[in-house]
Amino acid sequence: MSSNSHTLTPQATPDVGGPATVAEGRRRRRSPAASASRQSRKKSLMARIRRDKVMLLLIAPGFLYFVVFHYVPLAGNIIAFLDYKPYLGFIDSVWVGLDNFAAMFQDGAFWEALRNTLVITGLQLALFFPVPICLALLLNSIVSNKIRKFVQSVVYLPHFIGWVIIVAVFSEVLGATGAVPHLLENLGLPRFDAMTTPEFFPFLVTIQSIWKDAGWGTIIFLAALMNVDQELYEAAAVDGANARHRLWHITLPGIMPVIVLLLILNLGSILSVGFEQIVLQRDNVGPGAGEVLDTYVYFHGIQDGQWGPAAAVGLVKGIVGLFLVLGANKLAHFFGQEGVYSNGKSK
Protein backbone atom coordinates (compact mmCIF):
# COMPACT_ATOMS: atom_id res chain seq x y z
CA MET A 1 0.00 0.00 0.00
CA SER A 2 2.50 2.59 1.06
CA SER A 3 4.96 1.55 -1.61
CA ASN A 4 3.05 2.91 -4.54
CA SER A 5 0.96 5.62 -3.03
CA HIS A 6 2.94 8.41 -4.59
CA THR A 7 0.90 11.18 -3.20
CA LEU A 8 2.79 14.33 -2.57
CA THR A 9 1.55 15.00 0.86
CA PRO A 10 4.27 14.17 3.30
CA GLN A 11 3.10 11.34 5.46
CA ALA A 12 4.97 12.48 8.47
CA THR A 13 2.12 12.12 10.84
CA PRO A 14 2.59 8.95 12.82
CA ASP A 15 1.64 5.94 10.80
CA VAL A 16 0.88 3.61 13.64
CA GLY A 17 -1.99 2.27 11.64
CA GLY A 18 0.27 1.15 8.83
CA PRO A 19 0.57 -2.41 7.65
CA ALA A 20 1.86 -4.75 10.30
CA THR A 21 5.42 -5.66 9.52
CA VAL A 22 6.71 -9.13 9.15
CA ALA A 23 8.60 -8.40 12.30
CA GLU A 24 5.52 -8.02 14.39
CA GLY A 25 3.92 -11.10 12.95
CA ARG A 26 6.91 -13.26 13.71
CA ARG A 27 7.34 -11.87 17.16
CA ARG A 28 3.77 -12.70 18.00
CA ARG A 29 4.10 -16.23 16.79
CA ARG A 30 7.31 -16.83 18.67
CA SER A 31 6.09 -15.45 21.96
CA PRO A 32 4.47 -18.38 23.76
CA ALA A 33 2.20 -16.16 25.85
CA ALA A 34 0.67 -14.63 22.78
CA SER A 35 -0.63 -17.55 20.81
CA ALA A 36 -3.87 -15.65 20.49
CA SER A 37 -2.20 -12.85 18.60
CA ARG A 38 -4.49 -10.12 19.90
CA GLN A 39 -3.25 -10.79 23.38
CA SER A 40 0.27 -9.74 22.52
CA ARG A 41 -0.60 -6.07 22.99
CA LYS A 42 -1.34 -6.81 26.59
CA LYS A 43 2.15 -8.09 27.18
CA SER A 44 3.18 -6.51 30.43
CA LEU A 45 4.63 -3.04 30.22
CA MET A 46 7.85 -4.16 31.87
CA ALA A 47 8.33 -6.89 29.32
CA ARG A 48 7.86 -4.45 26.46
CA ILE A 49 10.25 -1.94 28.01
CA ARG A 50 12.78 -4.74 28.44
CA ARG A 51 12.32 -5.75 24.81
CA ASP A 52 12.64 -2.12 23.59
CA LYS A 53 15.31 -0.96 25.98
CA VAL A 54 17.88 -0.36 23.25
CA MET A 55 15.40 1.61 21.18
CA LEU A 56 14.37 3.70 24.17
CA LEU A 57 17.99 4.42 25.03
CA LEU A 58 18.57 5.56 21.45
CA ILE A 59 15.57 7.88 21.61
CA ALA A 60 16.48 9.37 25.00
CA PRO A 61 19.12 11.95 23.95
CA GLY A 62 16.96 13.32 21.14
CA PHE A 63 13.90 13.46 23.37
CA LEU A 64 15.93 15.27 26.02
CA TYR A 65 17.11 17.76 23.40
CA PHE A 66 13.57 18.63 22.32
CA VAL A 67 12.43 19.01 25.91
CA VAL A 68 15.34 21.21 27.00
CA PHE A 69 15.58 23.47 23.95
CA HIS A 70 12.00 23.57 22.68
CA TYR A 71 9.56 22.83 25.52
CA VAL A 72 11.21 24.14 28.70
CA PRO A 73 11.91 27.57 27.12
CA LEU A 74 8.18 27.85 26.43
CA ALA A 75 7.79 28.36 30.17
CA GLY A 76 10.22 31.27 29.88
CA ASN A 77 7.46 33.19 28.11
CA ILE A 78 6.24 33.94 31.62
CA ILE A 79 8.45 37.04 31.51
CA ALA A 80 5.88 38.56 29.17
CA PHE A 81 3.87 39.07 32.37
CA LEU A 82 6.80 40.35 34.43
CA ASP A 83 8.76 43.53 34.74
CA TYR A 84 11.75 41.27 34.18
CA LYS A 85 15.15 42.36 35.44
CA PRO A 86 18.00 39.96 34.72
CA TYR A 87 19.62 40.59 38.11
CA LEU A 88 16.35 39.76 39.90
CA GLY A 89 15.55 36.62 37.91
CA PHE A 90 12.19 35.00 37.32
CA ILE A 91 11.20 34.73 40.95
CA ASP A 92 11.87 38.23 42.22
CA SER A 93 10.84 40.27 39.19
CA VAL A 94 7.60 42.15 39.69
CA TRP A 95 4.41 40.63 38.29
CA VAL A 96 2.69 43.21 36.09
CA GLY A 97 -0.15 41.19 34.62
CA LEU A 98 -1.10 42.33 31.15
CA ASP A 99 0.69 45.69 31.30
CA ASN A 100 3.29 44.58 28.76
CA PHE A 101 0.59 43.67 26.30
CA ALA A 102 -1.20 46.97 26.82
CA ALA A 103 2.09 48.77 26.20
CA MET A 104 2.58 46.77 23.04
CA PHE A 105 -0.66 48.00 21.51
CA GLN A 106 0.27 51.60 22.27
CA ASP A 107 3.75 51.28 20.81
CA GLY A 108 3.99 52.79 17.34
CA ALA A 109 7.15 50.80 16.64
CA PHE A 110 5.23 47.56 17.14
CA TRP A 111 2.58 48.51 14.59
CA GLU A 112 5.31 49.57 12.21
CA ALA A 113 7.02 46.21 12.61
CA LEU A 114 3.74 44.39 12.06
CA ARG A 115 3.05 46.41 8.92
CA ASN A 116 6.54 45.82 7.54
CA THR A 117 6.21 42.10 8.23
CA LEU A 118 2.91 41.85 6.37
CA VAL A 119 4.17 43.96 3.46
CA ILE A 120 7.20 41.73 3.03
CA THR A 121 5.37 38.41 3.37
CA GLY A 122 2.60 39.68 1.10
CA LEU A 123 5.09 40.74 -1.54
CA GLN A 124 6.87 37.40 -1.28
CA LEU A 125 3.59 35.61 -1.77
CA ALA A 126 2.83 37.66 -4.86
CA LEU A 127 6.27 37.72 -6.46
CA PHE A 128 8.19 34.76 -5.05
CA PHE A 129 5.54 32.08 -4.99
CA PRO A 130 4.91 31.77 -8.76
CA VAL A 131 8.62 31.65 -9.65
CA PRO A 132 9.39 28.04 -8.61
CA ILE A 133 6.25 26.86 -10.40
CA CYS A 134 7.25 28.48 -13.68
CA LEU A 135 10.83 27.35 -13.25
CA ALA A 136 9.70 23.79 -12.59
CA LEU A 137 7.52 23.82 -15.72
CA LEU A 138 10.48 25.07 -17.74
CA LEU A 139 12.84 22.46 -16.28
CA ASN A 140 10.28 19.74 -16.79
CA SER A 141 9.98 20.63 -20.47
CA ILE A 142 13.69 20.14 -21.11
CA VAL A 143 14.03 16.93 -23.05
CA SER A 144 17.76 16.47 -22.55
CA ASN A 145 18.56 14.88 -19.20
CA LYS A 146 22.06 16.30 -19.14
CA ILE A 147 21.00 19.89 -19.65
CA ARG A 148 18.16 19.57 -17.17
CA LYS A 149 20.39 18.17 -14.45
CA PHE A 150 22.98 20.85 -15.07
CA VAL A 151 20.46 23.68 -14.77
CA GLN A 152 18.95 22.03 -11.70
CA SER A 153 22.35 21.92 -10.01
CA VAL A 154 23.01 25.56 -10.83
CA VAL A 155 19.71 26.80 -9.43
CA TYR A 156 19.92 24.62 -6.31
CA LEU A 157 23.33 25.97 -5.32
CA PRO A 158 22.28 29.38 -3.89
CA HIS A 159 20.01 27.62 -1.40
CA PHE A 160 23.12 26.47 0.47
CA ILE A 161 24.71 29.89 0.70
CA GLY A 162 24.21 31.66 4.01
CA TRP A 163 22.58 35.07 4.43
CA VAL A 164 25.76 36.84 5.45
CA ILE A 165 27.37 35.83 2.18
CA ILE A 166 24.27 36.66 0.16
CA VAL A 167 23.95 40.12 1.63
CA ALA A 168 27.65 40.71 1.01
CA VAL A 169 27.30 39.57 -2.59
CA PHE A 170 24.21 41.71 -3.17
CA SER A 171 25.91 44.78 -1.72
CA GLU A 172 28.72 44.16 -4.15
CA VAL A 173 26.41 44.00 -7.16
CA LEU A 174 23.57 46.38 -6.22
CA GLY A 175 25.27 48.57 -3.60
CA ALA A 176 26.58 52.10 -4.04
CA THR A 177 29.72 51.07 -5.91
CA GLY A 178 28.24 48.02 -7.58
CA ALA A 179 27.59 47.13 -11.20
CA VAL A 180 23.88 47.92 -11.35
CA PRO A 181 24.07 51.58 -10.19
CA HIS A 182 26.84 52.13 -12.75
CA LEU A 183 24.77 50.54 -15.45
CA LEU A 184 21.88 52.87 -14.57
CA GLU A 185 24.18 55.84 -14.65
CA ASN A 186 25.56 54.90 -18.05
CA LEU A 187 22.01 54.67 -19.34
CA GLY A 188 21.39 58.21 -18.17
CA LEU A 189 19.12 57.16 -15.31
CA PRO A 190 19.41 58.48 -11.77
CA ARG A 191 21.79 56.64 -9.43
CA PHE A 192 19.94 54.25 -7.24
CA ASP A 193 21.36 52.34 -4.31
CA ALA A 194 19.05 49.37 -3.87
CA MET A 195 20.64 48.38 -0.56
CA THR A 196 19.81 51.55 1.37
CA THR A 197 16.56 52.86 -0.14
CA PRO A 198 13.79 52.28 2.44
CA GLU A 199 10.96 52.22 -0.12
CA PHE A 200 12.73 49.51 -2.06
CA PHE A 201 13.50 47.32 0.95
CA PRO A 202 10.58 44.85 0.61
CA PHE A 203 11.49 44.33 -3.04
CA LEU A 204 15.16 43.90 -2.19
CA VAL A 205 14.35 41.26 0.40
CA THR A 206 12.07 39.48 -2.05
CA ILE A 207 14.66 39.53 -4.84
CA GLN A 208 17.23 38.06 -2.48
CA SER A 209 14.82 35.33 -1.42
CA ILE A 210 14.08 34.49 -5.04
CA TRP A 211 17.78 34.29 -5.85
CA LYS A 212 18.43 32.00 -2.89
CA ASP A 213 15.41 29.74 -2.84
CA ALA A 214 13.38 29.84 -6.06
CA GLY A 215 15.51 27.07 -7.58
CA TRP A 216 15.31 24.94 -4.46
CA GLY A 217 11.56 25.49 -4.35
CA THR A 218 11.18 23.67 -7.68
CA ILE A 219 11.91 20.31 -6.02
CA ILE A 220 8.40 19.78 -4.75
CA PHE A 221 6.78 20.92 -8.02
CA LEU A 222 9.10 18.73 -10.09
CA ALA A 223 8.05 15.78 -7.96
CA ALA A 224 4.41 16.69 -8.54
CA LEU A 225 5.02 16.95 -12.29
CA MET A 226 6.60 13.50 -12.33
CA ASN A 227 3.45 12.10 -10.76
CA VAL A 228 1.15 13.38 -13.47
CA ASP A 229 -0.01 10.34 -15.41
CA GLN A 230 2.08 10.25 -18.62
CA GLU A 231 -0.62 8.31 -20.47
CA LEU A 232 -2.90 11.33 -20.21
CA TYR A 233 -0.44 13.29 -22.32
CA GLU A 234 -0.21 10.58 -24.91
CA ALA A 235 -3.97 10.18 -25.12
CA ALA A 236 -4.44 13.94 -25.40
CA ALA A 237 -1.78 14.19 -28.10
CA VAL A 238 -3.42 11.42 -30.06
CA ASP A 239 -6.68 13.33 -29.78
CA GLY A 240 -4.99 16.39 -31.25
CA ALA A 241 -4.19 18.51 -28.19
CA ASN A 242 -1.14 20.66 -28.76
CA ALA A 243 1.50 21.55 -26.20
CA ARG A 244 -0.41 24.56 -24.87
CA HIS A 245 -3.62 22.54 -24.50
CA ARG A 246 -1.77 19.83 -22.64
CA LEU A 247 -0.16 22.35 -20.26
CA TRP A 248 -3.49 23.97 -19.57
CA HIS A 249 -5.70 20.90 -19.30
CA ILE A 250 -3.39 18.21 -17.94
CA THR A 251 -0.26 19.64 -16.32
CA LEU A 252 -1.76 22.51 -14.36
CA PRO A 253 -4.77 20.58 -13.01
CA GLY A 254 -2.34 17.77 -12.17
CA ILE A 255 -0.16 19.89 -9.92
CA MET A 256 -2.91 22.17 -8.65
CA PRO A 257 -3.31 20.30 -5.33
CA VAL A 258 0.35 20.91 -4.51
CA ILE A 259 0.10 24.57 -5.48
CA VAL A 260 -2.94 25.04 -3.27
CA LEU A 261 -1.29 23.18 -0.42
CA LEU A 262 1.87 25.29 -0.51
CA LEU A 263 -0.10 28.50 -0.89
CA ILE A 264 -2.08 27.66 2.22
CA LEU A 265 1.04 26.75 4.18
CA ASN A 266 2.64 30.03 3.14
CA LEU A 267 -0.42 31.90 4.34
CA GLY A 268 0.05 30.11 7.65
CA SER A 269 3.53 31.56 8.08
CA ILE A 270 2.61 35.10 7.13
CA LEU A 271 4.01 36.54 10.38
CA SER A 272 7.48 35.10 9.81
CA VAL A 273 10.10 36.53 7.52
CA GLY A 274 13.66 35.28 7.33
CA PHE A 275 15.08 36.60 10.57
CA GLU A 276 18.76 36.37 9.70
CA GLN A 277 18.19 38.04 6.36
CA ILE A 278 16.42 41.02 7.90
CA VAL A 279 18.57 41.43 10.99
CA LEU A 280 21.62 41.85 8.77
CA GLN A 281 20.05 44.63 6.71
CA ARG A 282 17.69 46.45 9.05
CA ASP A 283 20.19 49.16 9.87
CA ASN A 284 20.86 49.89 6.18
CA VAL A 285 17.35 51.29 5.83
CA GLY A 286 16.42 52.05 9.43
CA PRO A 287 13.70 50.49 11.58
CA GLY A 288 10.96 52.43 9.78
CA ALA A 289 11.24 50.11 6.79
CA GLY A 290 13.49 47.33 8.07
CA GLU A 291 11.94 46.34 11.39
CA VAL A 292 9.85 43.16 11.40
CA LEU A 293 8.28 41.41 14.39
CA ASP A 294 11.23 39.11 15.07
CA THR A 295 13.81 41.88 14.86
CA TYR A 296 11.59 44.06 17.06
CA VAL A 297 11.78 41.38 19.77
CA TYR A 298 15.53 41.09 19.38
CA PHE A 299 16.41 44.78 19.35
CA HIS A 300 13.93 45.91 22.00
CA GLY A 301 14.39 42.89 24.26
CA ILE A 302 17.91 41.58 24.13
CA GLN A 303 19.60 44.76 22.90
CA ASP A 304 17.70 47.44 24.83
CA GLY A 305 16.82 45.35 27.87
CA GLN A 306 13.04 45.82 27.70
CA TRP A 307 12.67 42.12 28.33
CA GLY A 308 9.02 41.99 29.39
CA PRO A 309 7.45 44.11 26.61
CA ALA A 310 9.55 42.46 23.90
CA ALA A 311 8.71 38.98 25.19
CA ALA A 312 5.03 39.98 25.08
CA VAL A 313 5.36 40.79 21.38
CA GLY A 314 7.18 37.50 20.80
CA LEU A 315 4.49 35.56 22.67
CA VAL A 316 1.61 37.15 20.77
CA LYS A 317 3.40 36.54 17.49
CA GLY A 318 4.03 32.91 18.47
CA ILE A 319 0.44 32.23 19.49
CA VAL A 320 -1.15 33.97 16.49
CA GLY A 321 1.39 32.23 14.25
CA LEU A 322 0.54 28.83 15.76
CA PHE A 323 -3.16 29.37 15.13
CA LEU A 324 -2.46 30.51 11.57
CA VAL A 325 -0.46 27.35 10.90
CA LEU A 326 -3.12 25.13 12.48
CA GLY A 327 -5.81 26.99 10.54
CA ALA A 328 -3.85 26.58 7.34
CA ASN A 329 -3.58 22.86 7.96
CA LYS A 330 -7.31 22.62 8.60
CA LEU A 331 -7.88 24.45 5.35
CA ALA A 332 -5.52 22.06 3.57
CA HIS A 333 -7.46 19.11 4.98
CA PHE A 334 -10.58 20.77 3.68
CA PHE A 335 -9.04 20.75 0.23
CA GLY A 336 -8.45 17.02 0.53
CA GLN A 337 -4.80 17.03 1.56
CA GLU A 338 -3.56 14.92 4.41
CA GLY A 339 -0.75 14.96 6.89
CA VAL A 340 0.76 18.32 6.15
CA TYR A 341 1.98 19.13 9.62
CA SER A 342 5.48 18.20 8.69
CA ASN A 343 5.90 20.31 5.68
CA GLY A 344 6.89 23.82 6.68
CA LYS A 345 10.30 23.64 5.10
CA SER A 346 9.53 23.49 1.46
CA LYS A 347 9.70 27.22 0.95
Binding site: L74, K149, S153, G162, M226, L326
Partner: protein, 297 residues
Protein backbone atom coordinates in the same frame (compact mmCIF):
# COMPACT_ATOMS: atom_id res chain seq x y z
CA UNK B 1 21.81 7.01 -24.48
CA UNK B 2 22.93 8.64 -27.66
CA UNK B 3 24.23 12.16 -27.88
CA UNK B 4 21.27 13.23 -29.98
CA UNK B 5 18.71 15.01 -27.88
CA UNK B 6 15.80 13.94 -30.05
CA UNK B 7 16.02 10.32 -28.88
CA UNK B 8 14.47 10.90 -25.47
CA UNK B 9 11.37 12.62 -26.77
CA UNK B 10 8.28 10.40 -26.61
CA UNK B 11 6.92 9.44 -30.03
CA UNK B 12 3.69 11.34 -29.58
CA UNK B 13 5.37 14.63 -28.70
CA UNK B 14 5.64 17.04 -31.60
CA UNK B 15 8.93 18.81 -32.22
CA UNK B 16 8.57 22.32 -30.81
CA UNK B 17 8.80 25.28 -33.16
CA UNK B 18 12.28 26.77 -33.52
CA UNK B 19 11.09 30.03 -31.96
CA UNK B 20 9.94 28.18 -28.84
CA UNK B 21 13.18 26.27 -28.60
CA UNK B 22 15.29 29.38 -28.99
CA UNK B 23 13.37 31.34 -26.37
CA UNK B 24 13.61 28.41 -23.99
CA UNK B 25 17.35 28.21 -24.51
CA UNK B 26 17.71 31.94 -23.92
CA UNK B 27 15.64 31.67 -20.74
CA UNK B 28 17.86 28.88 -19.42
CA UNK B 29 21.05 30.80 -20.17
CA UNK B 30 19.69 33.91 -18.47
CA UNK B 31 18.63 31.91 -15.41
CA UNK B 32 22.03 30.26 -15.08
CA UNK B 33 23.72 33.62 -15.58
CA UNK B 34 21.62 35.29 -12.88
CA UNK B 35 22.35 32.45 -10.47
CA UNK B 36 26.09 32.39 -11.08
CA UNK B 37 27.02 35.95 -12.06
CA UNK B 38 27.12 37.43 -8.54
CA UNK B 39 29.39 34.61 -7.38
CA UNK B 40 31.73 34.99 -10.34
CA UNK B 41 31.87 38.75 -9.84
CA UNK B 42 32.89 38.24 -6.22
CA UNK B 43 35.58 35.77 -7.22
CA UNK B 44 36.93 38.05 -9.94
CA UNK B 45 37.02 41.07 -7.63
CA UNK B 46 38.91 39.11 -4.99
CA UNK B 47 41.60 38.33 -7.58
CA UNK B 48 42.03 41.91 -8.78
CA UNK B 49 44.40 44.68 -7.90
CA UNK B 50 43.33 48.10 -6.70
CA UNK B 51 43.79 49.82 -10.06
CA UNK B 52 41.72 47.22 -11.91
CA UNK B 53 38.93 47.48 -9.35
CA UNK B 54 38.95 51.27 -9.59
CA UNK B 55 38.88 51.19 -13.41
CA UNK B 56 35.90 48.87 -13.37
CA UNK B 57 33.95 50.96 -10.88
CA UNK B 58 34.32 48.49 -8.08
CA UNK B 59 33.20 45.32 -9.76
CA UNK B 60 35.24 43.09 -12.01
CA UNK B 61 33.90 40.21 -14.05
CA UNK B 62 37.10 38.95 -15.65
CA UNK B 63 40.22 39.74 -13.67
CA UNK B 64 42.96 41.12 -15.87
CA UNK B 65 46.33 40.22 -14.37
CA UNK B 66 44.87 38.12 -11.53
CA UNK B 67 46.70 38.43 -8.24
CA UNK B 68 46.49 36.36 -5.10
CA UNK B 69 47.66 39.25 -2.95
CA UNK B 70 44.38 39.43 -1.04
CA UNK B 71 44.53 35.74 -0.15
CA UNK B 72 48.19 36.02 0.84
CA UNK B 73 47.32 38.85 3.19
CA UNK B 74 44.51 36.86 4.74
CA UNK B 75 46.40 33.62 5.13
CA UNK B 76 49.45 35.40 6.53
CA UNK B 77 47.65 34.76 9.79
CA UNK B 78 45.37 36.71 12.01
CA UNK B 79 41.66 37.01 12.49
CA UNK B 80 40.34 35.34 9.36
CA UNK B 81 42.57 32.28 9.58
CA UNK B 82 41.62 31.71 13.21
CA UNK B 83 37.93 32.15 12.44
CA UNK B 84 38.18 29.78 9.48
CA UNK B 85 39.67 27.05 11.67
CA UNK B 86 37.03 27.64 14.34
CA UNK B 87 34.24 27.42 11.76
CA UNK B 88 35.62 24.19 10.32
CA UNK B 89 35.86 22.60 13.78
CA UNK B 90 32.39 23.77 14.86
CA UNK B 91 30.86 22.53 11.61
CA UNK B 92 32.55 19.14 11.78
CA UNK B 93 31.80 18.47 15.44
CA UNK B 94 28.28 19.87 15.21
CA UNK B 95 27.39 17.86 12.12
CA UNK B 96 28.73 14.65 13.65
CA UNK B 97 26.76 15.16 16.87
CA UNK B 98 23.61 16.12 14.98
CA UNK B 99 23.81 13.08 12.73
CA UNK B 100 24.36 10.71 15.66
CA UNK B 101 21.46 12.03 17.72
CA UNK B 102 19.14 12.19 14.69
CA UNK B 103 19.96 8.70 13.45
CA UNK B 104 19.59 7.24 16.94
CA UNK B 105 16.19 8.79 17.55
CA UNK B 106 14.94 8.09 14.03
CA UNK B 107 15.93 4.43 14.34
CA UNK B 108 14.32 4.11 17.76
CA UNK B 109 11.10 5.51 16.35
CA UNK B 110 10.90 2.93 13.57
CA UNK B 111 9.51 0.29 15.95
CA UNK B 112 5.80 0.42 15.45
CA UNK B 113 4.57 -0.75 18.86
CA UNK B 114 7.30 0.93 20.88
CA UNK B 115 6.37 1.87 24.44
CA UNK B 116 5.54 5.58 24.25
CA UNK B 117 6.55 5.67 20.60
CA UNK B 118 3.67 7.86 19.56
CA UNK B 119 4.37 10.27 22.40
CA UNK B 120 8.05 10.60 21.50
CA UNK B 121 7.23 11.13 17.84
CA UNK B 122 4.64 13.80 18.57
CA UNK B 123 7.03 15.56 20.95
CA UNK B 124 9.43 15.92 18.05
CA UNK B 125 6.83 16.79 15.40
CA UNK B 126 5.15 19.54 17.40
CA UNK B 127 8.39 21.50 17.45
CA UNK B 128 7.77 22.21 13.78
CA UNK B 129 4.63 24.14 14.68
CA UNK B 130 5.96 26.61 17.21
CA UNK B 131 9.14 28.20 18.37
CA UNK B 132 9.65 29.23 21.98
CA UNK B 133 10.72 32.69 20.85
CA UNK B 134 14.04 34.48 20.76
CA UNK B 135 14.03 35.78 24.32
CA UNK B 136 13.09 32.52 26.11
CA UNK B 137 15.64 30.63 23.99
CA UNK B 138 18.30 33.16 24.91
CA UNK B 139 17.43 32.89 28.60
CA UNK B 140 17.57 29.08 28.41
CA UNK B 141 21.10 29.15 27.03
CA UNK B 142 22.03 31.66 29.73
CA UNK B 143 20.51 29.54 32.51
CA UNK B 144 22.43 26.50 31.29
CA UNK B 145 25.64 28.51 31.64
CA UNK B 146 26.48 28.21 27.96
CA UNK B 147 27.08 31.91 27.31
CA UNK B 148 30.40 32.51 25.58
CA UNK B 149 31.00 28.81 24.97
CA UNK B 150 31.13 26.99 21.65
CA UNK B 151 28.42 24.65 22.91
CA UNK B 152 25.99 27.56 22.48
CA UNK B 153 26.54 27.31 18.73
CA UNK B 154 25.78 23.59 18.59
CA UNK B 155 23.40 22.47 21.33
CA UNK B 156 20.42 24.79 20.64
CA UNK B 157 20.26 23.64 17.01
CA UNK B 158 21.38 20.07 17.56
CA UNK B 159 18.46 18.43 15.76
CA UNK B 160 15.71 19.49 13.40
CA UNK B 161 12.44 17.59 13.47
CA UNK B 162 12.31 17.85 9.69
CA UNK B 163 15.58 15.96 9.30
CA UNK B 164 14.41 13.45 11.89
CA UNK B 165 11.32 12.74 9.82
CA UNK B 166 13.35 12.42 6.61
CA UNK B 167 15.71 9.86 8.17
CA UNK B 168 12.93 7.92 9.88
CA UNK B 169 10.90 7.63 6.67
CA UNK B 170 13.97 6.38 4.88
CA UNK B 171 14.62 3.74 7.54
CA UNK B 172 11.02 2.58 7.41
CA UNK B 173 11.18 2.12 3.65
CA UNK B 174 14.13 -0.26 3.89
CA UNK B 175 13.26 -3.96 3.44
CA UNK B 176 12.32 -4.96 6.97
CA UNK B 177 12.59 -8.71 6.24
CA UNK B 178 16.35 -8.33 6.18
CA UNK B 179 16.49 -7.01 9.72
CA UNK B 180 14.01 -9.59 10.91
CA UNK B 181 16.21 -12.34 9.57
CA UNK B 182 19.21 -10.84 11.37
CA UNK B 183 17.19 -10.68 14.56
CA UNK B 184 16.37 -14.37 14.31
CA UNK B 185 20.07 -14.99 13.94
CA UNK B 186 20.55 -13.27 17.26
CA UNK B 187 21.58 -9.73 16.28
CA UNK B 188 20.51 -7.01 18.73
CA UNK B 189 18.77 -3.76 17.76
CA UNK B 190 21.96 -1.74 18.02
CA UNK B 191 23.97 -4.15 15.94
CA UNK B 192 21.32 -4.13 13.22
CA UNK B 193 21.48 -0.34 13.15
CA UNK B 194 25.25 -0.17 12.84
CA UNK B 195 25.89 -3.14 10.58
CA UNK B 196 22.82 -3.22 8.35
CA UNK B 197 20.71 -0.05 8.44
CA UNK B 198 23.51 2.52 8.24
CA UNK B 199 25.36 0.96 5.28
CA UNK B 200 22.07 1.00 3.36
CA UNK B 201 21.41 4.63 4.22
CA UNK B 202 24.41 6.47 2.78
CA UNK B 203 22.32 8.63 0.47
CA UNK B 204 19.96 9.98 3.09
CA UNK B 205 22.79 10.44 5.59
CA UNK B 206 24.71 12.46 3.01
CA UNK B 207 21.73 14.71 2.34
CA UNK B 208 20.82 15.26 5.99
CA UNK B 209 24.51 15.67 6.89
CA UNK B 210 24.77 18.37 4.23
CA UNK B 211 21.74 20.18 5.68
CA UNK B 212 23.29 20.18 9.14
CA UNK B 213 26.76 21.13 7.92
CA UNK B 214 25.45 24.03 5.85
CA UNK B 215 23.40 25.18 8.83
CA UNK B 216 26.41 25.24 11.16
CA UNK B 217 28.68 26.78 8.55
CA UNK B 218 26.32 29.62 7.70
CA UNK B 219 24.93 30.35 11.17
CA UNK B 220 25.91 33.71 12.56
CA UNK B 221 23.06 34.79 14.80
CA UNK B 222 23.81 32.41 17.66
CA UNK B 223 27.43 33.55 17.58
CA UNK B 224 26.32 37.18 17.60
CA UNK B 225 24.01 36.49 20.52
CA UNK B 226 26.16 34.28 22.70
CA UNK B 227 29.86 34.73 21.94
CA UNK B 228 32.49 37.39 22.56
CA UNK B 229 34.47 38.41 19.52
CA UNK B 230 37.54 36.33 20.35
CA UNK B 231 35.45 33.21 19.66
CA UNK B 232 33.70 34.36 16.48
CA UNK B 233 33.30 31.96 13.57
CA UNK B 234 33.94 33.02 9.98
CA UNK B 235 30.35 34.08 9.34
CA UNK B 236 30.58 36.72 12.08
CA UNK B 237 33.92 37.97 10.78
CA UNK B 238 32.26 38.30 7.42
CA UNK B 239 29.44 40.34 8.90
CA UNK B 240 31.72 42.55 10.93
CA UNK B 241 34.33 43.20 8.29
CA UNK B 242 32.47 42.99 5.00
CA UNK B 243 28.94 44.10 5.85
CA UNK B 244 29.65 46.61 8.58
CA UNK B 245 33.01 47.61 7.12
CA UNK B 246 34.74 47.58 10.48
CA UNK B 247 38.48 46.95 10.72
CA UNK B 248 39.69 43.45 11.22
CA UNK B 249 42.13 43.18 14.10
CA UNK B 250 45.83 43.00 13.43
CA UNK B 251 45.61 42.47 9.67
CA UNK B 252 44.86 46.18 9.32
CA UNK B 253 48.59 46.74 9.28
CA UNK B 254 49.14 44.62 6.21
CA UNK B 255 46.24 46.19 4.37
CA UNK B 256 48.11 49.08 2.83
CA UNK B 257 49.33 47.37 -0.33
CA UNK B 258 46.16 45.44 -1.04
CA UNK B 259 42.77 47.03 -1.71
CA UNK B 260 40.44 46.27 1.12
CA UNK B 261 37.63 45.50 -1.31
CA UNK B 262 39.64 42.61 -2.73
CA UNK B 263 40.26 41.34 0.80
CA UNK B 264 36.59 41.64 1.64
CA UNK B 265 35.61 39.64 -1.41
CA UNK B 266 38.35 37.13 -0.67
CA UNK B 267 36.75 36.52 2.73
CA UNK B 268 33.44 35.93 0.94
CA UNK B 269 35.12 33.48 -1.43
CA UNK B 270 36.78 31.62 1.43
CA UNK B 271 33.46 31.15 3.16
CA UNK B 272 31.93 29.94 -0.11
CA UNK B 273 34.63 27.38 -0.86
CA UNK B 274 33.50 24.55 1.44
CA UNK B 275 29.96 24.77 0.08
CA UNK B 276 31.11 24.78 -3.52
CA UNK B 277 33.47 21.85 -2.89
CA UNK B 278 30.89 19.66 -1.16
CA UNK B 279 27.88 20.52 -3.30
CA UNK B 280 28.82 18.69 -6.54
CA UNK B 281 29.29 15.43 -4.65
CA UNK B 282 25.85 15.64 -3.11
CA UNK B 283 23.72 17.34 -5.73
CA UNK B 284 23.12 14.06 -7.54
CA UNK B 285 21.05 12.97 -4.55
CA UNK B 286 18.79 15.97 -5.07
CA UNK B 287 18.38 15.57 -8.80
CA UNK B 288 17.92 11.83 -8.35
CA UNK B 289 15.11 12.47 -5.96
CA UNK B 290 16.32 10.82 -2.75
CA UNK B 291 14.99 13.82 -0.93
CA UNK B 292 11.60 14.04 -2.57
CA UNK B 293 11.19 10.33 -1.98
CA UNK B 294 11.88 10.88 1.68
CA UNK B 295 9.63 13.90 1.95
CA UNK B 296 6.81 12.05 0.27
CA UNK B 297 6.86 9.44 2.93
Amino acid sequence: MGPRIKDTRPVWMEKPKPAVQVSKAIALVVICFLALYPLLAVLATSLSSQSVIANNNGLVLFPKEPTFAAYQTIFAGGVVTDALIRSLVITTVGTALSLVITVAMAYGLTRRDLVGGRFFLMTALFTMLFSPGIIPSFLMVKELGLLDSYAALVLPTLMSAFNLVVVRSFFMNLPQELFEAAKIDGAGDFRILVQMVLPLSRGVLAVVGLFYAVGYWNAFFNAMLYLNDDKWPLSMILRQYVLLGQPMGDSAVAEIAVPSQAIQMAVVVISLIPIVIVFPFLQRYFTKGVLTGAIKG
